[in-house]
Symmetry: C2
């Protein structure tokens, strides 16, 4: 593990960035999932939110947008992907392929993605079970189930 | 399996689209990997090439670009992802998450991605072992090893 030391307070402050992105997405009528890519010194390298609706882009998940926003990086070992929701196979594949060292997840109740698969493959995984993340996603799924199912290919 | 019937000649003609994309990428100084997303009737829904160098976008793999180019689709079960090279975890995660029914791969010699993992999870996988795909990628890796390793996070 090459990730730097970080504590629960760091995780919460990073998650706040992802939650702000998710809220902005909700206000735009989009899928309310946000993410941030955090560097080894705790700096925000990139941030983003799901933009399926806003851009008509089915590959624009929160995690992929945060990753793109960070631009080309020489290494991802010391970075942390922070996301409001358990990452799908697409976004988990991103974390694994690029060797992102740590994953911080807001919640895994509304969608059980591949965070356990990443943990099995050496990624440090922290699940925060954040009440605000759960609430945001629950409301969205109840209001727009078809959009949600489209976003995860179901 | 919901993919439509297709034969070796179809696979070769689809691969030609991906190869044309890869060649265009090489001419631009980029990573020469191309892809196409093909619909159930054999129509090209989207096509693209790796654009890491061209756009400074580390998420712009051939497969993700072809997927984006196709826009939002109601279902991917009948579609085929065609790519010049075995897909990495990121692009394999894309195929699995969205339920793309079939994967046609130009070659797996220069990079052994997760095509077998996809086959284990129900995707119909065809490896063509195409000599032109092998040659293009071999030359690229020999000429620009650092760029190649950056592209796969190594």
């Amino acid at each position: 593990m090459n990730t730097s030391h970080a504590d629960a307070q760091d995780y919460r402050s990073w998650l706040a960035v992802a939650v702000a992105e998710a809220r902005a997405g909700a206000a735009e009528g989009g899928v309310p999932i946000g993410a941030a890519l955090v560097g080894g010194d705790g700096e925000i390298l990139g941030r983003g939110r799901n933009r399926r609706v806003q851009d008509g882009d089915p590959a624009a998940h929160g995690e992929t947008c945060a990753f793109r926003d960070a631009g080309r990086q020489p290494s991802y070992a010391a970075t942390t992907m922070v996301t409001t929701l358990s990452p799908c196979w697409f976004c988990s594949g991103l974390v694994r392929q690029f060797g992102i060292g740590r994953l911080v997840v807001g919640e895994v109740r509304n969608f059980h993605g591949a965070h356990e698969w990443l943990a099995e493959h050496g990624v440090e995984v922290i699940v925060l079970d954040d009440a605000e993340c759960v609430r945001m996603m629950s409301e969205f799924i109840a209001e727009k189930p078809r959009l949600w199912h489209e976003d995860i290919g179901e």
